[in-house]
């Protein structure tokens, strides 16, 4: 059983006790523990259940590569699934629950799956549960969903209480990994004067050198590490960051790092996570190496761990996974574990070494300590159900006949080491297979390249394959200098000499024992999290999966949250064997960022709640808000849809607003309307090209309505153009069109007509614009007082003037979108609110009524005015809308002219704009189609038109609509049927509504009302 050792634990403070709970059970650990070390110290070996077979699982590793020990952390709003216990720093009050168990961690009903592996073979998603078809949705899927999956998703109403942020940094060099290689690289770069960011994913510097007994310059590694950190901390050009993982490397030297600022200290005022977005010249990946498991039967049982992890727990946290530990290995490194356990007074019954001989210095030391070393030996089986009670030894080169049973409660395994090449590979760096040492390492001739085609990532130390401490240090300096020289820095200080015991070559072992039969292969786990075994990969190979990428997806090897950190190389080696191919020919799957999962919170950063997205507010926004506006989003703006009074429905409010405007006085916040100044000697010529009608002939002081088309002829925006003076115009666009049309103008000016003398400026936000609308519009303005003659003679319809109104600096436009007498008044935005207040006060006697966008829409529909986005949808040309009058016949060219002359555009059978009046006075459904005889080739009913706008008109007390109908204007008075979505009664024909084709101008057809 795992326990806390009486001594040791360089990272824990035994004087400080930390309380936490696991599955509701109260436990204690020490400050400096991880959740995994604290659980082991408390004797909790089983930490979770596997994904597919629900097998009990214990912790296998000690760091980011851990596949098994995933827990739900926190509860309620703070609940977070799939947190690795090995990298979760213990804090007071931590609450964790195990995942994927039902009903309990110790006794799980899904474990029965393990007895039925035939039902769940590799690719079972693709070949089981196919028939009968309806069973998938109603039977199989719900059951699979119940038993599969790892962590529990947060409750639907949970709201993360923590704060997150992002941070942009610019630097010369990012170093990922704060082990001895990363520190040495940082010393090189720091002394050379480069700006350096050094990130270490754990809370401690130095990596595993202190655990492995490395000596540097004759002193323990820890001494050198402390000195190096002190030196680096004093360098102004070096920035050190703990708990910060370099998650991804991207094009153009873009690096993402994930800092867990406050995970270990909840309740402080710091943000929980911070996402670093770094631009760097070079990246040094000093990311170390990961130990590989060995594939022997039962290698997934709780108590079987990586040999390096056993060392880590003992040295770093003073925890032993067992009292009697069998070491199984194919290399010398694992002997360190045996020696260390022996030093700690624990029993190591034997070292099972797969190699036929083992005489390196470490093996000699082990023998000298009286540890039994058995060569050509592997494990044929692990005894015990919820933990290890013994192992069965066999010959590695045999089929698995048991030669000896050994009683033990833990197994430390080592299948060799794989450099962590992820960051090298993210941006396209290629790998080379080192057959002698059995790992992939970076191929220096094919690095990931930057914008100039030069390599911008190097791996340093163990990540480059330099696993032995002496080589690691030397390699770190060499690679750092390589990166520095690419940045034009030079460095040349003496390299410290690091030393560790010599190691003999390893023996690549992918299956243990080598001749294992099918039964044994079905118990050799490759991917622990996704339950993929040697037999699954071999089955995939037999079924024709030759590509490692296909095999990955078919078997789900390496697709779990650990992304195959432990399983990848073993899996592809097994595949290569099954295919009788060389490992490098099979290759690896693609390494993609992030290195380990990063939180959604960090990705979202500060963008949540009120600042999830910018909300654009007009100068009158606060008034609308205070007066109960019902909002309508228009782009990023919020515009009042209507202003319902207490007890009033939206429709009642809209009707009231329309009636007040038509009979007395309405006020509209029109500030969001796009306003673009176009100025220069060629401004008139430019606008003549943009608009379908002639703008250059517009006189100063006058306004003209115009249409803008895309080069394909389709109507894209409309609005009133104002001639400010001889060489400047003010272009009004739709609210949504302001930025788009400004960009459209600049596109033409910068790319096509670059020699035209025209400047544009988007002045939308400079002005607050208020439409003063209704029969009393002039009266209220007169009351405010003005130095502008507002009479119809001096300022007729479609004229404008500048001056003072009620003491405000104003531009007044006699334009109307409602069919009423209307003055649109623009004042500088800073004066907008004051003008609005003044208009409301002066207009009180006229029942001045603010109206929203819906009243605006209904009133324009009553007048038959089109709305971009309602009557147009990107397929409509002005000619379809009866707007031929706004298309200049005289102009040689305008954008869209040529397109509008194509045969399809001039087809008389096009759908054209008409008004529609239902015979029963009801409101036509929005988007309804006009039905025609017969059905089309797809069996659908033929159509002859559709509704584009439809409203209840309070002015006319009936439904009104506009629509596009085949040859519509020629069919005035004809009655056609429109479909509805109402479900017909059984046996009855679908319900339709009949409507008469009429003129789209329902109200004041002579246009007398605004002209007063």
């Amino acid at each position: 059983m795992s326990t806390r050792l009486p001594q040791g634990g360089r990272l824990i403070d035994r004087s400080k006790t930390v309380k936490f709970s696991f599955n509701g059970k109260h436990m204690t650990g020490h400050a400096g523990d991880t959740l995994a070390s604290a659980l082991l110290a408390s004797g909790q070996v089983i930490m979770g259940r596997s994904f597919k077979y629900h097998r009990p699982r214990g912790v296998m590793a000690s760091g980011a590569e851990e596949p098994n020990a995933l827990v739900n952390l926190g509860r309620g709003d703070s609940h977070e699934p799939n947190q690795r216990a090995t990298v979760t720093e213990l804090f007071e009050g931590l609450s964790a629950t195990s995942q994927n168990h039902w009903p309990s961690l110790d006794w799980d009903i899904g474990e029965v799956n393990a007895l039925l592996p035939r039902v769940l073979p590799a690719g079972f998603y693709y070949k089981t549960f196919i028939y009968p078809r309806p069973f998938w949705k109603h039977v199989f899927e719900p059951i699979i969903r119940r038993s599969a999956g790892l962590g529990r998703a947060p409750e639907h109403d949970a709201r993360d209480p923590d704060r997150y942020e992002q941070f942009y940094a610019h630097t010369d060099l990012v170093i990922a990994g704060g082990g001895i290689a990363g520190l040495q690289a940082a010393l090189e770069a720091g002394r050379a004067g480069a700006r350096v960011i050094l990130c270490e994913q754990t809370a401690h510097w130095g990596g595993r050198a202190p655990v492995d007994g490395v000596e540097i310059d004759g002193k323990p590694a820890e001494t050198w590490i402390n000195d190096a950190v002190q030196v680096l901390e004093k360098m102004d050009n070096v920035h050190l960051r703990l708990r910060c993982m370099v998650a991804g490397v991207y094009d153009h030297g873009y690096v993402i790092a994930y800092e867990r600022v406050a995970d270990h200290a909840p309740g402080t005022d710091a943000p929980r996570h911070r996402l670093w977005r770094i631009r760097t010249g070079q990246v040094i990946a000093a990311t170390g190496a990961l130990e590989r498991p060995l594939s022997f039967p039962g290698n997934d049982k709780p108590g079987v761990m990586l040999a390096s992890a056993v060392r880590d727990y003992a040295v770093n946290w003073g925890v032993s996974p067992g009292a009697r530990t069998v070491v199984v290995t194919n290399n010398d490194d694992a002997y360190r574990t045996a020696l260390l356990l022996a030093d700690a007074g624990l029993s190591v019954p034997c070292i099972a070494d797969a190699r036929s001989e083992s005489d390196g210095p470490l093996a000699q030391q082990a023998r000298a300590r009286g540890i039994r070393v058995m060569t050509n030996t592997g494990i044929a089986g692990v005894k015990g159900l919820r933990g290890v009670v013994g192992v069965q030894l066999c010959r590695q080169d045999g089929t698995g006949e048991v030669i000896e049973d050994v009683t033990c409660d833990a197994v430390a395994m080592s299948g060799g080491w794989s450099p962590v090449v992820h960051l090298w590979s993210h941006c396209g760096g290629k790998l080379t297979w080192d057959a002698e040492r059995a790992f992939f390492r970076p191929d220096p001739s094919r690095p990931p390249t930057n914008q100039t085609g030069e390599g911008f990532v190097v791996c340093a130390g163990a990540a480059d394959g330099a696993l032995l401490a002496g080589d690691t240090m030397q390699n770190a300096s060499t690679m750092a200098r390589k990166a520095l020289s690419a940045l034009d820095f030079t460095s040349g200080a003496a390299v410290p000499s690091a030393s560790a015991a010599e190691e003999s070559p390893l023996l690549p072992v992918w299956i243990m024992p080598a001749g294992a039969g099918p039964k044994k292969r079905a118990k050799m786990w490759l991917d622990f999290q996704n339950d993929v075994k040697v037999s699954d990969v071999q089955l995939a190979a037999r079924e024709g999966y030759e590509s490692v990428e296909h095999t990955k997806r078919y078997t789900t090897l390496g697709m779990a949250t650990d992304q195959g950190k432990l399983s990848n190389i073993n899996g592809l080696a097994v595949l290569a064997q099954a295919l009788d191919e060389d490992i490098p020919r099979v290759g690896t799957t693609t390494f993609r960022p992030p290195y380990t999962p990063i939180s959604m919170g960090a990705i979202a950063g500060e963008a949540r709640g009120e600042i999830f997205q910018p909300l654009r507010r007009t100068p009158l926004h606060a008034w609308h808000e205070a007066n109960g506006a019902a909002w309508e989003p228009v782009g990023h703006w919020r515009r009042p849809y209507c202003y319902p009074r207490p007890g009033e429905s939206h429709r009642e409010a809209v009707n009231r607003e329309i009636t007040a405007t038509r009979t007395s006085l309405g006020l509209l916040d029109a500030s969001t309307l796009g306003k673009i100044v176009v100025k220069g000697p060629d401004a008139g010529r430019f606008l003549d090209m943009l608009y379908t009608n002639m703008m250059s002939t517009l006189k100063p002081g006058k306004c003209r309505y115009g249409l803008m088309c895309s080069e394909n002829g389709f109507l894209m925006d409309d609005g009133v153009v104002v001639r400010l003076d001889d060489d400047s115009f003010l272009v009004h666009t739709t609210t949504g069109g302001a930025d788009r049309i400004h960009a459209w103008m600049e596109d033409w000016l910068q790319c096509e007509w670059w020699d035209w003398q025209v400047y544009t400026a988007n002045v939308t936000e400079q002005w607050a614009q208020i439409a003063v609308v209704g029969p009393k519009a002039r009266a209220v303005l007169d009351k405010l007082g003005s130095d502008i003659d507002l009479s119809n003679d001096a300022l007729p319809f479609m004229a404008w003037a500048e001056g003072r109104i009620g003491g405000f600096d104003a531009r007044v436009f006699r334009i109307s979108f409602s069919g009423e007498l209307s003055f649109e008044i623009a004042v500088p935005a800073s004066q907008g609110r004051a003008l609005w207040d003044a208009l409301l006060a002066a207009g009180a006697e006229f029942d001045a009524t603010p109206y929203g966008t819906e009243a605006l829409h209904v009133m324009r529909a009553e007048k038959g005015f089109i709305m971009i986005g309602d009557e147009t949808d990107g397929t409509v040309i002005p000619q379809d809308l009866g707007l031929g009058w706004a298309i200049s016949k005289k102009k040689e060219d305008y954008l869209g002219k040529r397109a509008q002359e194509r045969t399809h555009m001039t087809d008389p059978g096009r759908w054209q704009l008409v008004g529609l009046e239902t015979l029963d006075g009801s409101v036509l459904p929005d988007g309804s189609y006009a039905l025609a005889e017969g059905i089309n080739v797809n069996g659908q009913r033929n159509t002859q038109g559709r509704v584009t706008s439809t409203y209840f008109s309070p002015t006319l007390s009936r439904g009104i609509a506009m629509g596009l109908v085949v040859q519509g204007p020629e069919r005035m008075g004809e009655v056609i049927a429109f479909n509805t979505t109402q479900k017909p009664a059984r046996g009855e024909a679908p319900k339709t509504i009949e409507a008469r084709i009429v003129s789209p101008v329902f109200f004041d057809p002579e246009g007398e009302k605004p002209n007063v």
Binding site: F167, Y168, H170, P271, G605, P614, L615, R617, P681
Partner: protein, 188 residues
């Protein structure tokens, strides 16, 4: 009616690791034209030299900022902007240019605090290299989801301008970014 004129968020202020303040009304004149030909008039009307690329120059209570190869931004008193536009327009009569008062299209914020923390707070919201920005330079950039410009009046006092409609977003963004506990310790 300047006495009734109000900025986007009058008096808004928040303090955390730095202080964020809406700066009230600020005159801003946009001037477009052939910069090589504008220098003399700009000097006469503002007292400021023509700024080099991305630079800002100072004149009589006025700052002139380079915005693009054919655009300047002139920062002046809010009440003086209309007159300046009229003077510029008159001075460039017959010469292709555009002078506009855009004071009210924008909002301005001041951030003040410890020099390094101030830079850290800004670096949370803009991809621009804030460590390379010093007084005398204006940086047009993106401030998280909106457009903006940043400059330092002094090492401990920064200015940010953005469109008026997103002033609340900008204020909230900086308030969150400057919250206590949010120091990063990166910029020195």
């Amino acid at each position: 009616m300047s006495e009734q004129a109000v900025s986007a968020l009058p008096g808004a202020e928040a303090t955390g690791v730095v202080t964020v303040r809406e700066m009230g009304l600020q005159g801003m004149v946009s001037l477009r034209g052939d910069l090589a030909a504008l220098g003399t008039v700009v000097m006469r009307l503002t007292g400021a030299e023509m700024p080099a690329v991305r630079a800002m120059t100072k004149g009589r209570g006025i700052q002139v900022a380079w915005m693009s190869p054919d655009e300047l931004l002139i920062l002046c008193d809010h009440g003086a902007a209309d007159t300046l536009v009229a003077d510029l327009t008159q001075a460039f009569e017959g010469q292709h240019h555009l002078a506009l008062n855009l004071s009210d299209a924008r909002a301005m914020f001041g951030l003040s605090g410890n020099a390094s923390t101030l830079r850290d707070v800004l670096a949370k919201v803009t991809p621009a290299d804030i460590s390379a920005l010093h007084p005398g330079e204006m940086r047009r950039t993106r401030i998280q989801q909106v457009a903006g410009a940043i400059w330092f009046e002094t090492e401990t006092e920064a200015r940010v301008i953005c469109f008026r409609s997103v002033a609340q977003y900008m204020f909230d963004l900086f308030t969150v970014s400057a919250k206590d506990g949010g120091a990063v310790g990166f910029n020195r």
